[in-house]
């Protein structure tokens, strides 16, 4: 049984040390020259579980609700997502290899994400792109197991104040080891979670490049 967030923090620290990684060099941009690709991480991990006897409570696993599998606190925290975004260099997979990637360290709140019509960063760049991680959801059910689902929002502005191109969709990757059942399973579960997030970025980039399907 997982009992403390300290254990998780220790596991993260040891993983990062083993990989020789530091926190991403995040630079909230206010530049005026050059092309910019701004990326924002999401606000932690949301979980939703549906079992035979219990289910449907959002974040029931994090809150320790009866009948819900425990989700380690801090899994896919904002800082981890920022690190993975910086590492993934999503601008390359999204056809903007010449853009400078700027990963913001803080998540945007859902109101800002859903109501902003113009540029979110204070940038006058003539070629400006936004990639927003809107939600990161651990989805579990008693038949299909667990998946990491990520809702991405992409907006391409060019020189304009309003986006000339936007696309929002989900990407998902199945999980085998998450949530971890024992303390010994934590490192592997967290590695798998990070890998799933990376794959979701790649999947979203594929959907973005492919034939675009508008909502029905």
């Amino acid at each position: 049984m997982i009992r403390s967030s300290a254990l998780l923090a220790l596991a993260w620290a040891s993983l990062a040390a083993a990989r020789g990684q530091d926190a991403p060099a995040a630079a909230p941009g206010t530049t005026s020259g050059g092309c910019e690709f701004h990326a924002w991480p999401g606000e932690g991990l949301t979980s939703i579980f549906y079992g035979l006897l219990h289910g449907g409570i959002v974040n029931g696993g994090q809150q320790g609700r009866r009948g819900y599998p425990r989700v380690p606190p801090g899994a896919m925290a904002t800082a981890i997502q920022a690190e993975l975004l910086a590492e993934a260099q999503p601008q390359r997979a999204m056809n903007h290899p010449d853009h400078r990637l700027i990963v913001h360290p803080e998540a945007l709140d859902s109101r800002t994400i859903r109501t902003s019509r113009g540029r979110i960063a204070e940038s006058a760049s003539p070629c400006y792109v936004e990639l927003i991680v809107d939600d990161v959801v651990l989805q579990q059910d008693f038949v299909n197991g667990a998946k990491l689902r990520v809702l991405f929002r992409y907006r391409e502005f060019g020189p304009d104040a309003q986006p000339r191109n936007s696309f929002t969709t989900w990407a998902d990757t199945s999980l085998d080891s998450f949530p971890p059942r024992t303390e010994a399973d934590i490192p592997e579960a967290l590695r798998e979670m990070r890998g799933a997030f990376r794959r979701d970025i790649t999947e979203f980039a594929g959907s973005l490049r492919g034939p675009r399907r508008l909502g029905n």
Binding site: Y50, T168, G210
Partner: protein
Amino acid sequence: MRPTTRFAIAVAACALPAAPALAQEACELHVWPAERMQSMTQGLLGGGLLGAAMYAGRDASNRAQLASALDSQSQIDALQSLDLIQEIGLPAGTTIVRHEAPLERHTMNSVKTRRSDSTARCYYELITADVLYTRSPIYGRSLRTLFMIRDFGDDQRIDFEYKAWGGNGLSHFPPREGEDVTVAINELVDVFKRNFQEYAHNERTRRSARRPRR
């Protein structure tokens, strides 16, 4: 509303006790979002355990999308985008107090006293209890929402309570895999608001029916 604003209103009400309009401003409506998202897909074979197993993947995906589109902030923002006070028929000037952390669903009926520590002399609670997506071969796709309002008056006793579902059809949700989901997300929020308006209409009818006629 920020605490400072509420404090200012309270001070104003205390300073001028003779003004009835200001006395009404002491009214508070506390609003909580739902913490439970459900999805029930029925095929031609009907529901039950077999149906639940057949559509488990689709329902799991729907629940995740509901949790995202209708997160706590979005639920309360959606309600506040309406004229809540008029919709429910509360005294003009009632202060809306947002609670972004949902209440535990299983305590919804068992707790019979005020959920907040407010001592307002005129106190209401609006709780969103459940958000439910359903799809059936006969009725199609719809979003249903369970709301509950409680009027406590000036004490800890419930003077009036009304709990009911609002429900409306969906055309865009759930989106197909890989397609742009913006329209589907917006539709969920719009239908959530329409569900509330339907509920509020019924609540006003019920409330006015219980008032004694002069």
